[in-house]
């Protein structure tokens, strides 16, 4: 989709790396990213990782949303509602959870999965996962782009702790875990035994 990007800057860097955050959201939503059904989604996060595996294999694993909690730490579960719709339960600070229904807005075998949250989402969000062949036989370049509306208010403040800054970190860590799982068949842990894993020690 990058060929359809609206380039107002003489700059090939992706909009997510722009120092002007408002312009970045405008550029992304004007060209390749849906806006969530409700709310004022103004926070854009994108992370890219190169994975030494074929595009089709990575796409297939990701497209089965029930697989996602295996490498997404904050995602408690994803219930598949039908071929396009799914229900997400995501851990929030203080043992709470935030939930939403997501609908697939674009799907291209081996290349793109895009979604947006439906009405009533705790955290309105949209995004897309792009799979592209890497240059020089290095496998596949996977880019996760997420646009969301950070929660406001008292509850929001708590949730914001997770959702204001964390999505960037979480996206990066989740993509690393996805890469580990796909390249090595397992997710690395520095723990010595199950007790330390349960205590979250690394």
């Amino acid at each position: 989709m990058s060929e359809t990007l609206d380039r107002r800057r003489e700059d090939d860097a992706p909009p997510s790396t722009s120092k002007d955050r408002t312009a970045a959201v405008e550029e992304a939503t004007a060209s390749f990213l849906d806006k969530p059904a409700q709310g004022d989604a103004d926070t854009l996060v994108a992370r890219t990782v190169t994975i030494n595996r074929p595009r089709a294999e990575l796409y297939a694993y990701w497209r089965d949303f029930a697989n996602l909690p295996s490498f997404m730490d904050n995602v408690e579960r994803v219930d598949i509602l039908d071929s396009r719709r799914s229900h997400w339960v995501v851990k929030a600070p203080g043992g709470k959870a935030v939930e939403w229904d997501a609908v697939i807005t674009q799907e291209e075998e081996g290349a793109v999965i895009a979604w947006t949250s439906e009405e009533g989402a705790d955290v309105p969000n949209s995004g897309r996962i792009d799979f592209r062949d890497a240059q020089g036989d290095r496998g596949t370049i996977v880019t996760a782009t997420i646009l969301y509306d950070p929660p406001a208010g008292v509850v929001g403040k708590i949730v914001a702790k997770l959702f204001q800054r964390e999505p960037a970190i979480q996206a990066r860590r989740d993509l690393r875990r996805f890469k580990q799982l796909m390249e090595t068949g397992e997710i690395a842990t520095g723990a010595r035994n199950r007790r330390l894993v349960e205590e979250g020690k690394n």
């Binding site: 860590r173 989740d174 997710i187 520095g190 035994n193």
Partner: protein, 396 residues
């Protein structure tokens, strides 16, 4: 099991901790038969390395017997293996290029953040070397969990003593790679700063790669003696001015290649060294890089600088001007251990490389804390301490 644990600066203890378990399909559990204290363990002992936690098990030079394997391990119970100190997956792009210490997947995802911030990209995991390198429990213990056991450990034939092959885990490949990074040409003079284990192996390796002369620099007489045993000329920096001596000994040209195997542990009363130490102890964040400065100034024009020494952060007064003007080449990096192990194991079997000369002390694991103190306090007499977890059994 019993294990050597870190509790703070100059505070390590042998304690009873819970055993390791198989957690991932490619894991194996090794019963340790021999494990050494590395010079870089002294960086932890001295409190120079951040992200250590009380109770962390140290040790990244170890070998032993396979006692348990995960379903995807290719090892068999009862095999004797030497384990590389770098934890590398074998399946990422970098491992495919044999740049094992640059492995993308050796570090747990969460632990990659610090390395990414400090270095730009995360590196491989390391055993027993802080949480920045993965928080993996080390091998100064009775047992250890070894991830990616299908690509890391090398199986050692029966009938070869532990002490002949133990150093395949780190210091022998590190010394070898240091010499390889110096791109030695026939007729070259190679200067080696630091006659610790890595420096001494670099001396041996440089000769094997065709160096005509090797000049070894240190201030511990016993270590300089060891370097001489392998044919090196020596400079004691407490008695002679290193830069002047190197120029005089090389006809005013300077060494063709310079190897800094000192790094963080640069001793000696140099003014910039004292400033560095002061800054380091007040967390103003600087390594203590005297050797690398001297190497850059002494190296001949168009020469090569190889830096196996461990540096963790930032360096002040790096002579970038001299480096540029003289057109030097610098090669460095954590060792790609897995790449070098098979060839070096053969060299040991064929008696081309001797490693046992290094060992000055052997102790039971129970006396590991004393081993650290000895190694720290007397680096002249103590060149290498090897710990034996099953001391009672082997002594009997």
């Amino acid at each position: 099991m019993r294990a050597l644990t870190w509790h703070g600066k100059h505070d390590v203890r042998v304690e009873t901790v819970d055993d390791p378990e198989i957690l991932n399909p490619r894991d194996a559990i090794i019963r340790i038969t021999s494990t050494a204290i590395c010079g870089s363990d002294l960086h932890l002992y001295d409190g120079y390395i951040p992200t250590m936690q009380a109770g962390d098990i140290l040790g990244h030079e170890f070998m032993g017997e396979v006692v348990e394997t995960g379903p995807k391990s290719t090892l068999k119970k009862g095999q004797r293996v030497v384990v590389p100190f770098t934890i590398s997956c074998g399946s990422c792009y970098h491992c495919g290029k044999h740049q094992y210490s640059a492995c993308d997947n050796g570090l747990p995802a969460d632990n990659q953040d610090i390395a990414q911030t400090l270095y730009g990209q995360p590196m491989s995991g390391l055993f027993g070397y802080s949480h920045m390198t993965g928080g993996y429990s080390g091998g100064q213990a009775e047992y250890v969990r070894v991830p990616f056991s299908d690509v890391g450990p090398i199986v050692v034939p029966d009938g070869i003593d532990d002490e002949k092959v133990l150093f395949l885990s780190d210091i022998l490949p590190t010394g070898w790679m240091a010499a390889e990074n110096a791109d030695i040409e026939p007729g070259d003079t190679v200067a080696v700063w630091g006659c610790g284990p890595v420096g001494l192996f670099a001396v041996q390796s440089a000769f094997l790669m065709g160096a005509e002369r090797v000049i070894a620099i240190d201030h511990f007489p016993r270590r300089l003696e060891l370097a001489k045993r392998f044919g090196a000329e020596t400079i004691n920096f407490e008695e002679s001015a290193v830069y002047e001596a190197l120029l005089e000994m090389t006809g005013g040209i300077g060494p063709d290649a310079c190897i800094d195997s000192v790094g963080l542990e640069a001793h000696g009363f140099f003014v910039d060294n004292v400033i560095d130490q002061l800054k380091a102890s007040t967390f103003l964040g600087t390594d203590r890089p005297h050797a690398i400065r001297q190497a850059i100034l002494a190296c001949r024009k168009g020469g090569r600088v190889s830096m196996p020494a461990v540096y963790g952060g930032f360096v002040d007064k790096f002579p970038l001007g001299a480096f540029m003007e003289k057109g030097l080449t610098l090669k460095t990096g954590q060792t790609h251990v897995q790449h070098y192990m098979p060839g070096l194991l053969n060299a040991i079997i064929e008696d081309k490389i001797d490693t046992t000369f290094l060992i000055s002390h052997r102790l039971p694991l129970e006396e590991a804390a004393e081993g650290y103190r000895m190694f720290h306090d007397d680096q002249n007499e103590v060149t290498k301490v090897v710990l034996k977890p099953d001391w009672a059994k082997t002594a009997a």
